[in-house]
Amino acid sequence: MGGEIGSTEVASIDTVLVVENDVLIRLVIAGYLRDCGLRVIEAANAEEAVAVLSRPEHQVSVVFTAVEMPGEMDGFALAQWVRRERPGVGVMLAGTPGRAADVAGKLCEQGPHLEKPYDPKRVLDRIRRLIAQRERP
């Protein structure tokens, strides 16, 4: 990965670091990306993301981060940190849940959404999570 936003080199991506403070959005996006065959590490804020990126055993290819997050660093500050400290790592910014879904879809457009035959429990769960996410103010 050369750090290009929206790169189509999906097949070469091994690990995506998803940074999102809303747990219901995070689990939907992370689950979706895993279903597409990507290895996903979850971080709840920028500080956690920096902790992961500072460990050599986590070979992160792409950081997929929300823009608005609590704490000293928001998504823009994290993106700047990554560009400065980990220039080989790609950064994708998402400003809303809808935008995050669009970005995740592009990131794993070559992968299946859910493998057939569908596990009904899993499908039901996915639907319930999405509904819960939409119902939140």
């Binding site: 747990v23 219901l24 995070r26 689990l27 992370a30 590490i41 979850e42 971080a43 709840a44 956690e48 902790a51 992961v52 460990r55 986590h58 429990k121 899993r122 039901l124 769960d125 319930r128 999570r129 819960a132 996410q133």
Partner: protein
Amino acid sequence: MTALRVEAEVAPAGIGARVLVVEDDVLVRALVSETLREAGCEVIEATTADEAVAVLRAIVAPDVLVTDVKLPGDLDGMQLAAKVRQTMPLTKVIVTSGHASVEAAKSVAHVFLAKPFELWRLVGCVRTLAARV
């Protein structure tokens, strides 16, 4: 991983349980979650008990809850475990801590793992508890 001794040996894959992991240390959480996924579990991650409560409201009850005791926020891991035992009787609970005692966890946990613990032990506990669900 500061709190865990990393062991390469992991139990055979195929547990098939849904596990909710609640841990505020991102490096520990990532290691534990990835190990359980490799063992065939579906893992949902939460960083605090408050996040875990939000998850539990949105999804089907997990087969196993794995929670640390010391967590930031309104609830600690013991309180979360008690809440789950009360409202989700089929969910098995594993409490982990580097500070709390077995005695303290006994009333709310099916299993207590003192930190640091070997990952194969956690996988073995999840496998055993999930089989009882």
